[in-house]
């Protein structure tokens, strides 16, 4: 393990802050467990993705400027969301194209890491150990998979837990239907997509669906409640808490 640990700035997505704070706390405990100094700037709000994806760039910029002010001096920024990470890393340069903060935004983007990327970068995977007898499936979020190119990292982490049986639906990861405001505007389509995605896991007999994005988690959890689907949907960090018995 490293003797010198970087100072970690937490990037807590609005959904985690407002709806699922336990996901953020799980990530904090994980990082502390490995001896990292963790900081949280309470001025942070949201990365601006909801407005950006709806096409409202001015509103997105307004919120994203707050984000840049909060994080511009941070060394390493870690987030429990692939989607929010992709927003900052891939789309801030687009959003602030020809703006004076563009370079700051671009540099900032290169310092933001999604949780499993951070674990990989810091070579923590080998130090993860735990035991959890369960059948699980992993739902890689579309933005994590296609925007950030995260393919094997979460699986490498999960494979360190003894007793786990991993079952994945065949083929490429399929969207759960969240898509931010898409699920509000087209709630019927989004709900059906969540059902299809969840069924692809439950048909395999999994007890847990683990994911790396709070958006997907919220969407699938709401669908599971609505349709009485008995499967536990957890964030990777929450799952690691259980499996590694970190308190």
């Amino acid at each position: 393990m490293n003797t010198f640990k970087s100072k970690i700035a937490l990037f807590i997505p609005c959904l985690v802050d407002q709806v699922y704070p336990e996901i953020g706390m799980a990530m904090v405990r994980f990082l502390r467990y490995f001896g990292y100094e963790v900081t949280y700037d309470p001025r942070q709000t949201c990365c601006g993705q909801p407005a950006f994806n709806a096409g409202h760039r001015n509103e997105a910029r307004k919120v994203a400027r707050t984000y840049i002010r909060v994080f511009e001096d941070a060394e390493i920024i870690v987030s429990p969301s692939g989607s929010c990470t992709a927003m900052v890393r891939n789309y801030y340069p687009v959003l602030f194209h020809n703006d004076q903060v563009c370079e700051t935004a671009r540099a900032l983007g290169s310092r933001v890491l999604e949780f499993s990327e951070f674990v990989h970068r810091e070579n923590l995977t080998e130090s993860i150990s735990g035991k959890f007898p369960a059948v699980i499936g992993f739902h890689n979020s579309c933005h994590s998979y296609r925007e950030l190119g995260i393919r094997e990292l979460p699986f490498q982490i999960l494979k360190k837990i003894d007793g786990l049986e991993l079952r994945q639906p065949p083929g490429e990861p399929v969207c759960c239907g969240f898509g931010g405001l898409f699920s509000a505007k087209y709630s019927a389509i989004a709900a059906a997509m969540a059902k299809t995605r969840l069924s692809s896991f439950t048909e395999l007999g999994v007890d847990y669906v683990i994911s790396n994005d709070p958006g997907c988690i919220m969407h699938m959890r709401q669908e599971a409640i609505d349709r009485n689907i008995t499967v536990q949907i957890l964030h990777l960090t929450e799952f690691l808490m259980k499996a590694m018995q970190i308190t």
Partner: protein
């Protein structure tokens, strides 16, 4: 009812249609495994093939007017007549004029989305002529009185039993479970049409500029019969179908076949360089090529959207799209469905009326990842949304809602205030939310992460 309300209603109904979903998932998963196997089998490096194809198409687009003129010159020299149609009406009129000139009563057609785009069948019928679709899938939807469900597999939504029933009703053949027997019934029905038709209409998969050629790819041999049996052949093609020369075909033919149907190459590939020449024993005596713009040059002028004209209509983005799989092709009510349809339709139709399709995507990017000519489809959907917002084509509720949101989410103190009010208000508002939205809104916990962090720090 507006186009948007219709879409909303139809998509919600289809989303709950389990029979539909199972049929489509079955078709798509068979397709997916064939495509994946073929990519690995015949391409050493699929990624390089895509890049190469995109580069060639970009080269075409940078010089499109020149290539089109080169195509016209070459094929005209060999006896074809090229007609330039600015829009659907002009194309229809050219076609009707050709029909008058050749005293046409019966038309046979092979599969062509471009003819769907200009409502050619309706035009033919309202002019008192008869039209046969010769592609099996197209024949099925024609007999059913429907529109193509998918740009490559138009009858993807019908299973064998449904087709058997349709053929029993319309063609009088006995009910059968055998796809072979049904195909034979269609074949018998169409044979006569090939021989007696006065004119054959096809689309074009590619137009070759340097050699002046029209390329057709197909699996049933029907396009070849359609173009070669009747005395007159009319090609209707979008101006973006150009490839620089025959040299591009060794890449584009397998690329299209692999992405479209998971084949190494389609069963029949026809290269047409003109009508029958002196001394030749078969082929049409007259060849017309109607080049259709119909909004394409508008797309061409918008630099950011120009790449959408690289599309070779393989249908891969439809198959990959979880929204398409959920709501099906007909729900879009457009000629081109799925991601590519949602990208281009708002530009080709009256501004604003079709922008709701740009929003009918979770931006999962599955489309972009499968496109064989690397069109950045999900980013273009996003660009469409920006354009919609800039032109005030989004609803008032969204416009003001997001202004409101930006005000509260741009400062922590305001966000905290908003949350306090929100937590009190939400239980009151919740019962009044539309059902679909209500079940998407989770319970809001008493403490934010921000609060938990403070407590954690103090402990």
């Amino acid at each position: 009812m507006s186009t948007f309300s219709r879409f909303l209603r139809k998509s919600a109904a289809k989303a709950e249609d389990q029979t539909h979903l199972l049929k489509i998932l079955k078709a798509v998963s068979t397709h997916d495994s064939k495509v994946e196997a073929m990519k690995n089998l015949q391409f050493k490096d699929w990624e390089s093939a895509r890049k190469q194809a995109a580069t060639i198409k970009n080269h075409v687009l940078e010089n499109l007017p020149g290539f089109l003129e080169q195509f016209e010159k070459c094929i005209t020299e060999r006896g074809a007549e090229v007609l330039w149609a600015g829009n659907g009406i002009e194309a229809q009129n050219y076609f009707l004029e050709i029909c008058r000139r050749h005293h046409v009563r019966k038309v046979i057609k092979s599969k062509s989305m471009t003819t769907e785009e200009i409502s050619l069948n309706e035009t033919i019928e309202s002019a008192g002529m008869q039209v046969w679709e010769s592609d099996l899938g197209e024949l099925i939807v024609q007999l059913a009185g429907e529109k193509p469900y998918h740009i490559v597999t138009p009858a993807m939504h019908k299973n064998t039993a449904e087709i058997a029933e349709l053929f029993h009703d319309k063609l009088g053949v006995p009910i059968t479970e055998s796809a072979e027997e049904l195909t034979m019934a269609a074949r018998t029905y169409l044979r006569d049409a090939y021989v007696t038709a006065d004119i054959g209409v096809t689309g074009a998969n590619f137009l070759i500029a340097r050699e002046g050629a029209v390329v057709l790819t197909e699996n049933e041999g029907n396009a070849r019969l359609t173009m070669s049996c009747p005395p007159v052949h009319v090609v209707i093609a979008g101006i973006e179908k150009i490839l620089p020369s025959m040299d591009s075909l060794p890449l584009f033919l397998p690329l299209l076949a692999t992405s479209g149907t998971g084949q190494q190459i389609t069963c029949y590939n026809t290269i047409i360089r003109g009508p029958r020449r002196n001394g030749e024993v078969d082929g049409p005596q007259k060849l017309y090529i109607i080049l259709l713009d119909n909004g394409r040059s508008d797309l061409y002028r918008k630099e950011r959207f120009r790449e959408s004209l690289r599309c070779i209509r393989c249908g891969a983005c439809l198959n990959a799209c979880p929204v398409y799989r959920t709501i099906g092709g007909h729900t879009y009510q457009t000629t081109y469905q799925g991601p590519i349809g949602s990208v281009i339709t708002p530009h080709l139709k009256p501004m604003g009326e079709w922008q709701h399709l740009s929003y009918a995507s979770s931006l999962c990017a599955a489309c972009t990842s499968v496109c064989p000519v690397k069109i950045d489809l999900h980013t273009l959907l996003l660009e469409n949304r920006w354009e919609a917002c800039a032109n005030h084509q989004t609803g008032m509720l969204w416009r003001f809602g997001l202004k409101f949101w930006a005000f509260f989410f741009s400062k922590r103190s305001r966000l905290n205030f908003f949350r306090r009010i929100g937590r009190i208000k939400l239980p009151i508002i919740r019962p009044f939310l539309p059902h679909g939205l209500r079940k998407r809104v989770p319970q809001i916990p008493a403490k934010t992460f921000s609060t938990l962090w403070k407590e954690y720090e103090q402990s």
